[in-house]
Structures are given as C-alpha cells and as structure tokens.
Symmetry: D3
Subunit: 172 residues, 6 copies
Amino acid sequence: MSLRTDSVVAIYPGSFDPLTNGHLDLIHRGRRLVGKLIVSVLNNQAKHPLFTVEERMEMLREATADIDNVEVDSFDGLLTDYAVRRGAGVIMRGIRAISDYEYELQMALMNRRLRPNIETMFLLAGEGNSFLSSRMVKEVARLGGNVSGLVPAAVERRLAARFSAAGPESKV
Amino acid sequence: MSLRTDSVVAIYPGSFDPLTNGHLDLIHRGRRLVGKLIVSVLNNQAKHPLFTVEERMEMLREATADIDNVEVDSFDGLLTDYAVRRGAGVIMRGIRAISDYEYELQMALMNRRLRPNIETMFLLAGEGNSFLSSRMVKEVARLGGNVSGLVPAAVERRLAARFSAAGPESKV
Amino acid sequence: MSLRTDSVVAIYPGSFDPLTNGHLDLIHRGRRLVGKLIVSVLNNQAKHPLFTVEERMEMLREATADIDNVEVDSFDGLLTDYAVRRGAGVIMRGIRAISDYEYELQMALMNRRLRPNIETMFLLAGEGNSFLSSRMVKEVARLGGNVSGLVPAAVERRLAARFSAAGPESKV
Amino acid sequence: MSLRTDSVVAIYPGSFDPLTNGHLDLIHRGRRLVGKLIVSVLNNQAKHPLFTVEERMEMLREATADIDNVEVDSFDGLLTDYAVRRGAGVIMRGIRAISDYEYELQMALMNRRLRPNIETMFLLAGEGNSFLSSRMVKEVARLGGNVSGLVPAAVERRLAARFSAAGPESKV
Amino acid sequence: MSLRTDSVVAIYPGSFDPLTNGHLDLIHRGRRLVGKLIVSVLNNQAKHPLFTVEERMEMLREATADIDNVEVDSFDGLLTDYAVRRGAGVIMRGIRAISDYEYELQMALMNRRLRPNIETMFLLAGEGNSFLSSRMVKEVARLGGNVSGLVPAAVERRLAARFSAAGPESKV
Amino acid sequence: MSLRTDSVVAIYPGSFDPLTNGHLDLIHRGRRLVGKLIVSVLNNQAKHPLFTVEERMEMLREATADIDNVEVDSFDGLLTDYAVRRGAGVIMRGIRAISDYEYELQMALMNRRLRPNIETMFLLAGEGNSFLSSRMVKEVARLGGNVSGLVPAAVERRLAARFSAAGPESKV
C-alpha cells in the first residue's frame, strides 16, 4: 500500500489578533497530522484589528520559528480561492464550545459548496484553553488584567506596550 | 522541508450497525487526509446489535474494496489502547449536529486524558446525510420504509432480508 | 385570489403517555391553523408505556371533546406512510428546548426524505409548560408528588389510581 | 365538520437583503399551508442594508410573480402591531440551526407576550440550504465568489452589479 | 458545627440598561442565599448605553429600597479585581437559555483563571422571564410597544420619557 | 445590616455511583458558600447501580471526613419533599456542558414548580473535570483503563476490586 498523504497541505486561517496559547497549541498538534501547515492571517481591516497584519505575522513567526513544517502567510479574499492558489486540500480549524461550532459548521458548509474538494478538519481546543479567545485576551489586557499564561511572552509584551501607550482613558 | 505525514495512521471507530452512506462518504473523504485509515467495528454485544461484528465487517469490506489505503478491522476494550496497538496517532470521527458534538467532545476529552498523544480529528457529515444514522435507518427499515439511497445496495439487501425474516410482528 | 388551505389536514403524533397540559395547549393552538388536526397516538409497545393505546386515546378524547376540528386516532408503522393514508400534508410538533429541537430536526429531515411533500410545522411550547414532559409527569406522580395543573384532571385521577394500585414498593 | 383555515393569513417577515434560494424555498412550502402568505420586508435602515426596501421588494416580486397566494409588502415598527393591522394570525419563520433557534425562540416568546393570539409557526430550512444566509451570500459576492445556485438569477445579477460598481477596493 | 456563610458577600454585575423584572426577580431570590448582595452597574460607555450609570443605579435603588441586604454600586475595570476590592467571594449570574449559558460559561472560566478563589454561582431566570432582556425591552419600547409587566413601573416611565423625547424619527 | 445566610442549608443530590474528583471539587467549592452542605445519595435501584447506597455513602464519608460543614445522607422519593424534610432551601448542582445544562434546567424548573421557595444554585465543573462522569469512569474502569486522577484513591481501589472480581468476560 502506498502512503499518499505526504503531500497534504493544510491551511489554518484566522485573525490571530493576537496569537494566543490556544492557537499555538493547535498549531503544534495540527502540524503533526499534515505535510505542511500554512498558518495564514486574514487581512480584515474592516474589523479594526488591534495589530496590523505584519505585526500578527511577526508574532506567529516568532512563536513557530522552531517548527519545520509550519509556514506563516496572510490572505484576503475568499479562503477557498486562497487554498486553491496555495495548493492546499485541507482547512484546519479549532473548536472550543457549541457557539464556536455553529459558526464553524456554517463556514465549513459554505466552503464545501464553493470548493467541494477542499476538506475542513476540526481539532478540539485544549481543555485548559477552552475559555481562551483573542477577543477576551484583549479585553483583559485592556482592563489591566494579567494575561501571562494565556499568550506567548512576546505577545504579552506587545499587549502591554499597546495598552500602556493608550493610557488609562482607553479603559472601558 | 521533509514531509512527515506519510506515516499518519488513523482509526475510524464505530458500531457500523449497519454501514450507511454517511459513513461511506466520511471514509472516502477521510482516507485522502491520512496514510492509512483503519475502519474498525466496535464489538459491543451489550448493545444487542442487529448484525454481528463479522457481518458488519463484511459490509464494510464490500463497500471499500476499491480503496487502497483503507483497512477494515474490529476491536473491543479501550479505543485508545487499541489505537496504541495499531500504531495509530489519530482517531477520526464524523459530526453531524450539536447533540453529536456534545458526546463526541466528551469522548475525545476522555481519550486525550487516557492517551495525550493521540489526536481526534473531526470531519463534517455531508449535508445530504445530516439526518442519517444507523439507528434511524434500522427504524425505517423495520417499519417497512424505503432506505435506498441511505445505505449501500448490499446493506439494503441485508436489511430487507433481516426484517422480512422477522415478519410483520416485528413492527412496533 | 382563492384561499386554498381549507383542506389542510395536519397530524399531531406522539406517545401521549399520558396527555399533559403542554400537549393540550398545543392542540388548542395548532387546530386553529389547519382545517383538521388529527391527534394520533403512537402504538409503541416496545417502550413499555404506562397506559394502553386505548386509555391514551380515551384521555385525549375526553380533553378534546369540545373542539370540532380535532380527531383522535392511533397509528403504528412509519409516520409518513400513515400521513399519506390519512391524506395529511402536515405533521405538527411542539418544541420546548434545544435537546428537543435536535431530535425533532433529525426526525423532520428523515420524514422529508421519505415523503418530500409532507411538511413538518413546529409550534413553541407554552412558556409555562417548557419543563413539562410525560416522562417527568410520570416520575413525579410515581414518587407521590402533586401533578395537578400539569395534566388535565381526568389524567391526574388515572395517574393516582395507577400508582396507588401499585403501592409504595413502586417507589424507586 | 367545517374547515376553518381558509382565512388563515400568515406573515413571513425578514430583511431579505437580499432574497436567497433558502427564503424562496420557504415561501414555496409555507404558502401551501395558509390561505395567504404576506412576505414582508423589514425597513431596517439602522442596519445599513445593501439594498433599499424597494429593491428588496422588487426582487421578491420578481421571484414570486407566479404564485397566486403570496403578497410582497414592507413594514417598520413592531411586527406584532403590523400583523394586527394586516389581519394576520400567524408569523412564519424558517429555522436552520441551533443558533437560529435560540434567537427565533426569544423573538417568538416576546411576540407571544405582546400579542398572545398571534402564533409563530416554524418550518425547517431545506437541507441543501442550511448554510445559506443573506449575510454569507453578501460576503461571498463581495469577495468575488460565485453565488449562482444560492440566490435567484435576478438577485445574482444585482449583487454582481453592486459589487463590480464598488470596485476591488471594496474587498476587505 | 459552626455555620460560616454569614460573611458571604456576592456581586451581581450587569449593564442594567435598564433594570428588568427578570433582574429584579433574580435579586430577590439571590439575596436570600448570601449575607450581602452587591448589585453593581458596569460602566460601559463604549456600548453607548441608553441610560447613564447614575440613572441605572437610581432605578436599581428605587426598586430595591425595601431589601435590607442589597447594596447598589457601580464598577469599571476587571470584575474580578472589583470583587477583591469589595471583599466578595461570589459572582452571581442569571441564566436563561443556551446562548446565555455559552457566554456565561466562558466569562466564568476566565474569571476563575484570573481569581481562582472567586466562585460564580448561577441561578435560573424565572420561567415567565425567559425571553426578557434589556436589549429586547429597549427595542420594544423604541417601537412603541407596551413594556408594562416587563420592567418596574418607574423604569417604564423613564423608557416612555426617553423615547417620546426622541420622537417618531427614532423608529427603525 | 444583619447577615442572614448563616442558616442556609443546601443539598447536593446525585447518584455518586461512584464519587468522582469532579463531585469532590464541587463539594469543596460549594460548602464554602453555605452554612451546611448535605451531600445526598439517590436510592435509585431501578438504574442498577454498580455500588449500593451504603457503599456510595461510605466513599463520600471517607472523602469528606475532614470537612466540618458537609454531611452525607441518602434519600428516595421526591427531591423537593426531601429538601423540605431536611430544612434545606437550596439545591446545588454542577454543570459541565450543554447537554447537562438542558437536563438540569428541566429538573430545576420542575422542582421550582413543585416547591417555589427552594432555589437551585449551579456551579461550573472545574475545567479539568469537564469530561468526567461516573458513567464514563465506570466504562473506562470496566475496560481496564487507568482511572487514577479521575476518582479518589479509595474509589479507584473499589472499582479495581469490583471489575477484577467480575473477570475479563465482563468486558464489552
């Protein structure tokens, strides 16, 4: 029997605004299942991200520098078109809870409709990370809470710099 | 960069009592993502299955005869112990709806606890199959309903044989 | 414009073991939406019902005696085949909570597959009845709790008779 | 027995920004259950709709021109007050998934509180349409994806005109 | 055995924009379980509340004037830091439906992570209030609907004053 | 202000067949919120428990011997009647996931209906225990899996004794 998955390329798309330890756990686990994992930052200006695409890619590159089959990239436009351009047959997503799942399901069904031969593969968030989201991390950091252990140290420093620069009036 | 997934072995465990077209769709999609996919029938006498383990394996073998990286097997005992014995690093499961997901989540978390290095990977059921389950297929067949299109033709014949033998008094 | 729903016949299927005030509320509301509402008791011996089909039909007839477009019936076999035999184009179901909804969704999709031209229509349970189920009513009555207000008075009397006859050793 | 539903008037309210094939499927199925189905566009300026109320009504009229008991209308203010003004006793809604259901349940309970004699009737979205929403169709169209098969042809043309006029800088 | 909960201080945090009868029911039930219940208004300017923090506190004070172990307060910043400042060991939250629960679960897990010794205690919303939310009350009041029975009389008067002052053009 | 909760008595009812570390975590957290916490074993012969009521109480007593405001008891009949007999005003329950929540909600609503002045208070399961249930622990132990860390050591020993006595043929 020939083994054929050596060429499986997967994309892990997201805003990563910023990268959390939940994302990082998923990257470490997901890249073991595929030949190459492209972690790709969605260029979503309309959502007024806290960090630029470049900053987000830099944080991802720092955190994944020691993993040999992970590549950091960015994209805009349709995810499925981007997957075709990159030769990827799999989209990887993490799921935490029910509300996640609903949205992820809808996206995955639409993506299947747009490109039937691209598969979406779900991995469960690590249990210790089930409450973790970039949005909640930003909220806690903005209010002066401690996010160590929730994000990589480099991300923690950037969050501190961002919110201290903004000053206390950014609170609320 | 070396590609390392050529040795990914995944297990797709289930009762397959009997195999449905939903299972079959998942097998076709899942086996493209891994080096080898072991479809393994759970030996669950306690649940009073309609078909024996041997019959269920035979239906699976007939339906997957033309796929070169799928193997049909059976197991009892702990799934994670079985995965270790077979050298499998991945458990594959299909998810259809929320209620599925809850149970699948709980199983996957327990399995992670028992064997942290075995990953559970979820694929979505095909949309046309979201209402399909072995239990419901058996119920419809038992009541004389038409299950063609819901199961492979060979399974349909076996269901017909089983329930016609039982006679009308099996209706309840 | 001709109005065409004067011939809409709907079926409200269920175990009704026994009828609760939640069922009765749904009957009163649903029968206003259709030409005829057939409330039909599922003959499900295998579930070891507390009341016979005849008793369940009798309780339904007593409670709906004053409604002119409601008919009480029973069925076994496939619901959709029964609907065809009765000339019904609509299946009516009540939904209370999420767990209900999941199961109801799966049944409705299977029924659509079996008979695409039979529609399932959902009505919400009355808010005061959202915790009500026949199973829970039986459990409370069996343990000696007060079910007045949860079921029609005639059903309450029958439950009392049934459980007092069984004696205290039925408690468990 | 007199059949009394020939006078059932139902309202199918929504944003319809734009009409999708999922909406259209529901209109075709729902209008068979009632005497008259009023499909009514919510005038929700505050949500910055892509199409004006007039455009949305026009798309609905084109798509339902051949159905004799469907009327297209628009409304603002409270839905239940509008239902009373139109003599409608039923609100019809489609449900796709759990997240839908939660919101729909809350709306239906509030509407029942505001007008106890107006009933909300739910129909299931067609299975092939379970991922379809106006929001997702707009998102795909905006990013240059193919929405044929998801919306009527006339709506597809309008979406193409709208987004090509906006030019590539509308991509975000 | 010494009884030790006489010093349990709980916080019931929320926007209370405005107070509803659902909140009030929870206050009455929750304050019976603890030594002191601090009902605390979140100072969330960013969400463009309808009423100021002072107005919201005033409505709460009016409605709880006759309860001796309830205190009205406000806070900004991290809830868990505020709980520490107030010497509170318990956060009290009401839950109505699934969607609530998901969000409440995520918040409670994050709060536990930030302060492991502060407990979150959930009470169920009263059944008659399961559809009630400040957001929906504002929506109904804005559209001219009747909110009596949904909020205390004093809140109803303030809502009427607010929306009549805004005039009909605020509709939509 | 007088503090009035020194007399709050709460009941934590369950099957505890057997006690898990998830139950124990809840006992430790819950007893800090009330004057007295009665952990009470449901006498549910009909469910064919693995351990007798006496064994289950003994395991609870061993595990809570060092906590001064926890009492171990058992009950049959209606929980709310038992609460009245014990002078308890609060029922404490743990919730883990959505499916839990649905059932817990229904029970709590029925209990409120039976005894409006008895409050149900929910605490979240510890995150590391979200997959833990007595049923799953028994399943793993029966199949020879390692349950250390999932239950107290004394429970682990009892499970081992029970399943080794039964012999390998109990597997399936």
